[in-house]
Amino acid sequence: MDEPLVVVKDVQLPAGDSYYYDRTEHLWARLEGEGRVRVGLSAFAQKAAGAIAYVKLKPAGKPVQKGRAFGSIEAGKYIGPLKSPATGSLEAVNAEALENPGLLNTDPYGRGWLAVIEATELSRDLADLVHGEDAIRRWIEEEYNRYVAEGLFAE
């Protein structure tokens, strides 16, 4: 069966049971079992950021804290940190995305993933993330309208 997908205008967000979203940072977090969480920028985030030109990530093995930077990006419309949706340690970082940051734009849920976190407080960290098809749709529609009103989605 195909995974549920929330589509709001030109933005698509997978909404299967394993997907969670940080409501301010617009990162996705995908549960991969045994406390492992794969993380990336959502299609909404990469639309807001524009063409991503540079990605920097902490090396694998480093500890990360929810809400604190585990890396940074430089893009056409955004320069700033990538804030972790979970506390734990970086099990892996995506060397291909470091080499080719455009993957974050062209394949945000696939080859453009950023890191895998070995989460230590997973149920606590998931509590404030957006989850479930209806909740994701409501949230992303509100965000989309807000970004349009503020002129952050120009074209």
């Binding site: 807001a48 950021a49 524009g50 063409a51 030109a53 540079y54 920097k56 940074s72 430089e74 893009a75 056409g76 419309k77 955004y78 320069i79 700033g80 940190p81 455009g102 009103a149 503020e150 002129g151 952050l152 120009a154 074209e155």
Partner: protein
């Protein structure tokens, strides 16, 4: 390598709303403070080799009208706008005839107004002056080959200097920009452009560095070497000792950006837009007074923009 200058001149770090920006030692108070508005949406008749209109896509389109777009921004907290857009076949941003609307953006909406002009004649410059435009920005091209091969425009340095003169003589505070490495990464007409700046009473000079954009003919072009960039920074500083000289928004990413920002500090430039991580701290450590601003560099010092 030259040492960093003494603490005599303050350095201004600015982060206008042209990009969202956050760094450990500098996060702007109002990320929507200063926004670019494109009069042409993503359209540009020149389709320059370094951009092909891609920079325009990140801007707010002036729809359904310039005034409507600016009113929306004002309601969202914007305090200033850069009115820009793609050029026509003669290298002009289509500002002609918008004087009254520009005045209303400033007077009715209370927004600071800067414009990117492209080439323009005296009548157009006077219209901007009468509209009360507070800053005009103009990319100066100092080599005819660069205008032809990058901008696809039959224009020479004399045309750019005539536009600069028209703005300055009309009384519009003018901030020329020089793009280092615009000629496919090579420095070609930059010194000639700097000489133009020396001949006119401009409000300041903004230096930017070619940033190869994905999906353009210059995507794989190497930006100019950091040594040449730094040398030009020092030349600009020596040539214009009293004039504010800023490092503007555009420059390559990552380690190259940090290297360019450090070079700007060493050369004693007066400001850096969107400084790389650690640069604010570096300036403080060198003893220079640091000013943080949400404003576009041309508006630094305007009420409520500095802290």
């Amino acid at each position: 390598m030259p040492s960093e200058p003494g603490p005599a001149r303050p350095v201004v770090f600015s982060a206008p709303g042209i990009k969202r920006y956050a760094a450990r030692d500098f996060t702007p108070c109002n990320p929507e403070s200063f926004r670019p508005v494109s009069l042409t949406g993503a359209r540009c008749a020149l389709s320059c080799a370094h951009c092909e209109g891609k920079l325009l896509r990140a801007m707010v389109p002036a729809r359904p009208s310039l005034l409507d777009a600016c009113a929306r921004l004002a309601r969202a907290g914007t305090r200033g706008v850069l009115i820009t857009g793609g050029c026509d076949r003669k290298g002009r941003v289509p500002l002609a005839g918008l004087g009254e609307e520009l005045r209303r953006v400033r007077d009715s909406l209370g927004l600071s107004v800067a414009v990117h002009t492209g080439l323009l004649d005296r009548a157009a410059a006077e219209e901007l002056a009468q509209a009360g435009v507070e800053r005009a920005m103009l990319d100066l091209i100092g080599a005819r080959e660069t205008a032809r091969e990058v901008y696809h425009l039959e224009a020479g340095p004399e045309d750019y200097e005539a536009s600069l003169a028209a703005l300055v003589d009309s009384g519009v505070p003018t901030l020329p920009h020089i793009v280092l490495g615009l000629h496919y990464g090579a420095l070609k007409g930059e010194r000639a452009a700097l000489e133009m700046v020396r001949r006119h009473r401009v409000a300041g000079l903004v230096l930017v560095v070619l940033t190869p954009l994905p999906g353009t003919p210059m995507a794989s072009v190497a930006p100019p070497p950091i040594g040449e960039v730094e040398e030009f920074f020092h030349l600009a500083r020596r040539s214009l000792p009293e004039l504010p000289v800023w490092l503007g928004c555009a420059r390559p990413c990552g380690p190259a950006r940090r290297a360019i920002d450090r070079a700007a500090l060493r050369a004693g430039l007066d400001g850096i837009a969107f400084p790389a991580e650690g640069i604010v701290a570096r300036a403080r450590a060198s003893g220079r007074e640091v000013v943080l601003s949400d404003a576009c560099c041309g508006f630094v010092g305007a009420p409520g923009t500095d802290r």
